[in-house]
């Protein structure tokens, strides 16, 4: 379409350039033809006048001027041809040369009031017909100025200049009249030329308008052709696109149906997950309850262990006190032992004394023997008590050691119970987190289930829209086919 449009535009431009060039060439040809006719006329008229008035003119001079005139005309024409833009300058040169030639002939051979004076109007007229008002003024000024200059020179230097002097005021008036006449003629011819130029310009403007209208019409036709082509292509593309859209919509509807099925399955799975999460939350809640009971039991165990530890310390203190008491008892027994030993020795000494007394000391010896026996029994009893006390002390020491060991074990038990309590706390915290996570999972899965249902509903609507889109696309394809046919017909009409 763009290519066609470009080609049309190039052809139009070539035609337009050809028209302008042809117009200039026609105008130049007319100029050359006019100059040639006028130059030939001038030369013929000069020759006819010279021969008609009977002046004796050397043939050589006439030929020289004629040759010079032809050379001037030809050189001007050639210059105008070479430089089309210098036509106006060529016309000015041509007018000036022709005017000087005319004045020279007039002054040398006819005088001011000779019939040749009218010939001076010829270049001005030609210039006025051919050129603009400004050129007319220039040529006219030169003609009149040259005419006056020659007249003045003839009056001042009559002997040196071979021209007939102006002998009277009438001739000067005549000269002025001729100058005014030349100016009026120039202006008149210029006006005529201006009118002709205006008419020509109007005609040219009309031609240009017609040309412009034709060009615009041609451009519109080209645009119509291009639009027709573009419309045809667009219709084809639209048809193809509509067919693809219809196919895509059908596939989309199928895909949406599959997605709907998948999302429904996803919703079912989410429901099952929600149920499982609910079970997990319930189990975690039961675990929390059990852990709470267990934690309470652990706390009670810790308290019981603490009480046992205090009791064990009390027992240890009491056993140590018992050991100290037994130590005191031992000391008392040692005292008793010493007393018994003393008593024994006392009885022994008494027995010795009684034996020394002979028969008199026999009763005393009996008493001493009894005392000694008592002392021995006391010693024996003290020894037994000491043995018992030693056993008590050993048992007390063992009890103290056992109490200390028990205290240590109780402390270990308390430590273990405390650790168990900490573990229970940790388990309780984890169970709380588990319960919370289960509840959150349940809520999330419930939301997911609801969202899945919404998605299913939305997908159904999308499937319906896709089916409607497919139907619309098929209708659009039909319409595009019709539009393509119309575009083809329009394209044919535009090219025809």
């Amino acid at each position: 379409m763009d290519v066609l449009r470009g080609e049309s535009r190039n052809a139009y431009t070539e035609n337009l350039s050809t028209s302008e060039t042809g117009y200039d060439r026609v105008r130049l040809f007319q100029l050359i033809l006019l100059c040639t006719i006028v130059g030939a006329g001038i030369v013929s008229l000069i020759l006819l006048l010279l021969m008609g008035i009977g002046l004796i003119v050397p043939i050589t001079v006439i030929g020289l001027w004629a040759n010079a005139l032809g050379a001037m005309i030809c050189s001007g024409i050639c210059y105008a041809i070479v430089r089309q833009g210098a036509i106006e300058l060529a016309v000015r040169i041509y007018g000036v040369v022709l005017a000087l030639l005319t004045f020279s002939v007039m002054f040398f051979y006819g005088g001011v009031l000779s019939p040749l004076i009218f010939i001076t109007t010829l270049p001005v007229t030609v210039v006025g017909l051919l050129s603009s008002r400004r050129t007319v003024w220039i040529v006219g000024s030169i003609v009149v100025g040259g005419y006056l200059l020659l007249g003045i020179l003839q009056s001042l230097y009559p002997t040196q200049i071979p021209i007939q002097p102006l002998s009277s005021g009438a001739e000067w008036v005549s000269l002025g009249v001729v100058a005014i006449s030349v100016g009026i003629i120039g202006l008149a011819t210029s006006s005529v030329q201006a009118s002709l130029q205006a008419a020509l310009q109007e005609s040219q403007a009309r031609a240009e308008k017609i040309f412009t209208d034709t060009e615009r019409l041609l451009e519109k036709s080209m645009q119509q052709i291009e639009l027709g082509s573009e419309l045809s292509a667009a219709a084809a593309e639209l048809q193809a696109t509509s067919q693809q859209q219809a196919s895509g919509s059908t596939e989309q509807a199928s895909a949406v149906s599959q997605v709907t099925t998948t999302v429904e399955e996803l919703g079912t799975t989410a429901r099952q997950i929600a149920q499982s999460a609910d079970h997990v939350a319930q189990a975690a809640q039961q675990t929390l309850e059990y852990l709470s009971d267990g934690q309470q039991a652990v706390d009670e165990s810790i308290q019981a262990m603490e009480r046992i530890r205090v009791r064990m310390q009390d027992i240890s203190v009491r056993v140590l006190g018992l050991g100290e008491r037994s130590q005191q008892i031992g000391e008392i027994i040692d005292l008793i032992d010493d007393i018994s030993d003393e008593t024994h020795l006392l009885a022994l000494n008494a027995a010795i004394e009684a034996a020394g007394a002979g028969e008199h000391g026999r009763r005393f010896s009996v008493v001493a023997a009894e005392v000694k026996n008592l002392a021995n029994r006391t010693l024996q009893a003290a020894k037994e008590v000491k043995d018992v006390i030693a056993e008590i002390r050993q048992a007390t020491n063992a009890a103290v050691l056992a109490a200390e060991e028990g205290g240590k074990e109780v402390e270990k038990g308390s430590e273990l119970t405390y650790r168990a309590g900490q573990v229970m706390d940790t388990i309780l915290m984890m169970a709380e987190r588990t319960a919370q996570s289960g509840a959150e999972i349940g809520m999330a899965t419930a939301q997911q289930q609801s969202a899945s249902e919404q998605v299913v509903e939305a997908m159904r609507e999308i499937a319906e829209v896709a089916r409607q889109t497919a139907a619309g696309a098929r209708q659009m394809a039909d319409s595009a086919a019709m539009l393509s046919a119309i575009a083809d017909r329009l394209h044919g009409v535009a090219q025809g």
């Binding site: 030993d341 003393e342 020795l345 022994l348 000494n349 027995a351 010795i352 034996a355 020394g356 023997a369 000694k372």
Partner: protein, 165 residues
């Protein structure tokens, strides 16, 4: 002093002395008093001198033995404390009267010191009868000889120290 020709004497009213694990006998008439050793610290003899203490186990057996009791033996001029492990009055029933047999003359003359005067068999074990007075006198002599040696005086052979051999 008991002679070999003397008839056997009854063991009633004799002192039974223990020196460690061994047991000896002695006449109670030889002992003036029996005291615990702790009382000897502040006691003096008749001359106002500290009580002479002799460990009887070292003297007889040359082996140490624990000493808890002191047997005070009165000599003519001084009192000697013989330290023994334990002492008791061997008070036998009147119907049982073990007899102490005097040492035969051969053995008695073979002894350097006449510290043992007889033997008594009790429960199948022989018990030696000690002459505590003689032991105390010999101990005093030996102590006096030691004192003289310390002062640098010549030794009187008649007062040789007590020895088992």
């Amino acid at each position: 002093m008991i002679s070999a020709t003397e008839p056997p004497i009854l063991a009633n009213h004799m002192l039974r002395i223990r020196l460690g694990a061994q047991t000896f006998l002695a006449h109670h008439t030889h002992v003036a008093q029996v005291l615990p050793i702790a009382r000897l610290r502040d006691m003096h003899d008749e001359r106002g001198q500290p009580m002479q203490q002799i460990r009887l186990a070292e003297l007889l057996q040359h082996t140490p033995a624990p000493a808890h009791h002191a047997l005070l033996i009165a000599t003519r001029r001084r009192t000697v404390a013989l330290l023994v492990t334990a002492v008791d009055l061997w008070d036998l029933p009147s119907d049982i009267s073990p007899v102490v047999q005097p040492l035969p003359p051969v053995l008695r003359h073979a002894l350097t010191h006449a510290w043992i005067t007889g033997i008594l068999i009790a429960d199948g074990q022989p018990l030696q009868l000690l002459n505590l007075r003689q032991i105390a006198q010999d101990a005093l002599k030996q102590a006096a000889q030691g004192e003289r040696e310390q002062r640098g005086q010549p030794i009187n052979r008649s007062d040789e120290p007590v020895s088992r051999n």
